[in-house]
Symmetry: C2
Subunit: 253 residues, 2 copies
């Protein structure tokens, strides 16, 4: 979108990085291909090893390429999940017993792990959104989603413990249609959603749990589910591997 | 959302970083406050300078704090723009002559600079979305948005040159209600939008134009505007300073 700047004043490593980027854009190197190594760049451009390393570092820090230990630097295989923010939450989806996730993944292999369901007091920011006192008992659902062997999302849901007591929401397997179908059964059907989207660099622990390579930010989605008359029935905080996702929102003017 | 891991095995710098983060969360240090310096941390924790530096580095790489040259490390003053993706594009907004931006900024001071309007051939990815041949003439509008003195967004719009010829869309000032109001006047009123959201680390040039501090990703929004019968009338590629934005999407189930 923004063209690379050029000119005499650019440092050498930047010019080499731009040349490599252009070669990727043109399809000379494709996703998963190995880029020229430090020795190749030293020979081709007559530069020092540090300059070659810096050039490859630019592509890594921009998330275009990633280093694999002992094997070299490779064009990142960006095959993002397309997450259709609005359609996937349509009642026709979970109302018919399908999981929300099945809308995203086509035929790819999804594993949900690190599942835990606990009761805890509401943290302050959660209490604020749900309109309850901090410390109010919450049903807290943690999950990690792993697609084709790669962790892509960490999810934490908060629901009022009193509201969901005795339902499958308090169990690891929430049953067909998941949490929202169960909420509908107890008269707390979500009719409106708000998603807030941010991005930042991951913490060390987030990076480890999502197996992020260097230079990969996370996308944060905080979703609030509203029942009739505006009652908040769930707050879902998600941390996404930014390299694995495109979020799509479709709407009328 | 994801708690900090603890335990004996954590490196010292990580434990110090966690303590600082807890102090920020508790409000002991607020946005804009200076954090303890390397010397302070060395004294307080009995650690070497490198350990103190690493601890402060963790907060910077997570985007929680930023270094100001010669002055120390400060809690980042995150006062994000709340960009209501759907409401801001409602016809009632631009149809009444207001700019889409006025919905986002409350009473803050907005400057639009680096404006250029040129005619260029459609790049391949643009041609694909607009359903034209690559190289087809496009009206290309570049702009940068600066809020309270801080660049927050780079925008590039592509519109078919033949469609918008002779309208104010080809001029720097598009007039009341902007591009969408002008499109409506020539019978190409946008009735539907699609926004695709991604995140990655900025290129060097993007970082410079947005004046990003280290450890700040960009959010990319690619918006497609559809007129009646699905005709694409505009593709708008935006690059946002992730530290300056919360994107909000509100919709019914």
């Amino acid at each position: 979108m923004v063209g690379s700047s050029s000119g005499e004043k650019q440092p050498k490593y930047q010019r080499i990085a731009d040349t490599l980027k252009a070669a990727i854009d043109s399809g000379e190197y494709r996703a998963g291909d190995r880029l020229p190594g430090e020795n190749d760049l030293m020979d081709a451009y007559g530069v020092a090893r540090m300059t070659a390393r810096q050039a490859l570092g630019v592509l890594q820090s921009e998330g275009i390429a990633e280093a694999r230990r002992g094997a070299g630097v490779f064009v990142r295989d960006f095959r993002p999940l397309r997450r259709r923010g609005i359609q996937r939450l349509a009642q026709g989806q979970w109302g018919s017993g399908r999981s929300i996730w099945s809308a995203d993944i086509d035929n790819r292999s999804l594993l949900v792990d690190q599942v835990s369901v606990t009761e805890r007091g509401a943290p302050e920011h959660v209490a604020r959104v749900l309109g309850v006192d901090p410390g109010e008992p919450m049903c807290v659902r943690h999950r990690r989603f792993v697609l084709d062997g790669k962790p892509v999302l960490l999810s934490t849901s908060y629901l009022p413990a009193g509201l969901v007591a005795g339902t499958a929401i308090t169990r690891e397997d929430t049953g067909p249609g998941g949490t929202y179908a169960r909420l509908a059964e107890i008269g707390a059907k979500p009719v409106h959603f708000r998603e807030e989207v941010r991005s930042r660099m991951p913490s060390g622990e987030e990076g480890a749990r999502l197996e992020l390579s260097a230079g990969t930010p996370v996308i944060l989605i905080c979703r609030t589910a509203f029942a009739d008359e505006g009652q908040v029935v769930e707050l879902n905080e998600m941390i996404l591997d930014a390299a694995s996702y495109v979020l799509e929102y479709d709407f009328d003017a």
